[in-house]
């Protein structure tokens, strides 16, 4: 029998299935992302499969979860399930993934918000979460790329950036520059650079950031953030790793 873990984000849900004997359910076959061995708190090896699917699809599946975090878990939990809030999941997950974590900031950027936690001498030290006004994060970039029909893999780092203190003003600048003849790719790259700069400031300007979330796969963002600090991408499953 497997245990199901869920990180239900606003637009994307990350799921992990843990199995002691290597057998898995077929709930998410078409979404399989990757398999790996993981360790529980007692050091026992578990087989795992992780999946990535749109949250709107998840809600239509006849499945409930044993462990969960995230905004969109409503009605998806088993009666005896364990819910962990996102910051705690981020803290536990990053410590599990980076046991040598001593003095660093872990930043998780979601589709509509961002949160970070800072460790000093291996212990929790400081945190923040900007759910009220994220000045645009993942969902905005996805929408921009969809609107201008751009693949994020085609975006390159540009040294210039838009100020994204207000995401709406930033969008306006994209439209202005495109109207002046600049390519949408360059404008969105400037927007992403502005977002990276914003996130670095939001995380209190650390020297090193361990990055969690979908932006780990956005090279333009990783390079933009790298202009300000050392960046180590941890992938999209950090919160899931903090659930068991």
């Amino acid at each position: 029998m497997t245990k199901l873990l869920l990180d239900a984000g606003t637009t994307w849900s990350k799921i992990m299935e843990l199995s002691k004997d290597g057998s898995f359910s077929d709930f998410f076959v078409e979404y399989e992302a990757h398999s790996q061995d993981v360790f529980d708190q007692n050091g026992n090896t578990l087989f795992s499969k992780s999946y990535l699917l749109p949250s709107k699809v998840l809600r239509k599946l006849p499945v409930q979860f044993d462990f969960a975090t995230g905004h969109m878990v409503q009605n998806l939990l088993k009666e005896d399930s364990v819910y962990t809030n996102e910051i705690i999941a981020l803290a536990y997950g990053s410590m599990k993934l980076v046991p040598e974590l001593q003095n660093a900031t872990v930043l998780d950027i979601g589709s509509r918000d961002a949160k970070w936690i800072r460790f000093k001498d291996g212990k929790y030290c400081d945190l923040d979460w900007n759910s009220a006004c994220a000045s645009s994060t993942g969902a905005t970039v996805e929408m921009l790329c969809k609107f201008y029909d751009i693949n994020t893999d085609d975006l390159s780092f540009v040294d210039e950036k838009y100020s994204l203190t207000c995401g709406i003003f930033g969008m306006e600048k994209i439209m202005d520059d495109i109207a002046k003849g600049q390519s949408a790719e360059v404008c969105i790259s400037k927007y992403i650079h502005g977002l990276a700069s914003n996130m670095w400031n939001f995380a209190k300007r650390p020297e090193e950031i361990y990055l969690s979330g979908g932006f780990c796969q956005n090279q333009c963002f990783v390079e933009s953030l790298g202009k300000y600090c050392k960046v180590t991408p941890l992938g999209r499953n950090v919160l899931l790793m903090g659930l068991f």
């Binding site: 705690i88 030290c125 945190l127 759910s131």
Partner: protein
């Protein structure tokens, strides 16, 4: 029928006591509290929720309020002073008071250091503005500190353990020195402390500074406490 003696903040105790004594059949209402009355429309959209409560409550209860004893000194804030002026201008019977200098020493803060749930501690302290209690309370060994004013949304207080000690303005109220800034800035430096203010309150400046100084958690909440504020407090308490 006018049957309410209203107040806000921490008015001069003698003046409030006199008004209560003069009106023995009146209900006493703290206008700072959110009773869910309709929005009056006289306030800016983005403004301190506590001051908005004062205006909304007063305007909704205007036919019942006999007198408002308004706290307008350093024990409250400039916005409280302006609220008093506006309500006077609207025809309310407003008595302006200041309670910012003291001849007495700080009273013991047994409620702040008791083992009551945090919400009950703050309720009791604020009731003490007009009704002294003689409860025998058990002190708690502190695990967490709460610094700040009573929040608009008390749900926030449910996240704290009963061993939480109270600091900041609320503690000053229990000490009967609501404008004592030195006491307001006092915390237990060894205690993980959440520094709370209402958004748009001047005390944000103080809360942020003290949170940085003592490596605490700075939280500002506007109206109702949101999921991220709750998660931050929960994580801060659990991970520290």
């Amino acid at each position: 029928m006018k049957n309410i003696v209203a107040f806000w903040g921490y008015p001069d105790p003698e003046i409030l006591k006199n008004e209560i004594a003069k009106n023995p059949n009146c209900e006493i209402i703290d206008l700072d509290v959110d009773y869910g009355y309709p929005i009056s429309g006289v306030m800016c959209e983005a403004y301190c929720k506590i001051i908005a409560n004062i205006m909304n409550n007063a305007i909704f209860l205007r036919d019942k309020i006999k007198v408002i004893v308004a706290s307008i000194g350093k024990e409250k804030c400039d916005s409280g002073h302006i609220a008093a002026i506006l309500l006077k201008d609207m025809g309310f019977n407003v008595i302006e008071t200041k309670y910012e200098t003291y001849s007495h020493k700080a009273s013991p803060t047994v409620i702040s250091e008791s083992n009551l749930p945090l919400k009950d501690k703050i309720d009791l302290i604020m009731q003490g503005v007009y009704k002294k209690n003689n409860l025998t309370l058990t002190p708690a060994v502190p695990e967490v500190g709460f610094w700040g004013v009573p929040p608009n949304d008390f749900e926030l207080l449910e996240l704290f353990p009963d061993s939480t000690h109270v600091f900041g303005w609320t503690r000053c109220v229990e000490a009967n020195r609501p404008a004592d800034l030195e006491l307001e800035m006092m915390v237990n430096p060894n205690l993980p402390t959440v520094f709370f203010t209402q958004t748009f309150c001047a005390k944000m400046q103080l809360a942020k500074y003290l949170a940085d100084k003592y490596n605490g958690l700075f939280i500002d909440v506007d109206d109702k406490v949101n999921k991220s504020a709750k998660a931050k407090i929960e994580a801060f308490i659990k991970l520290r």
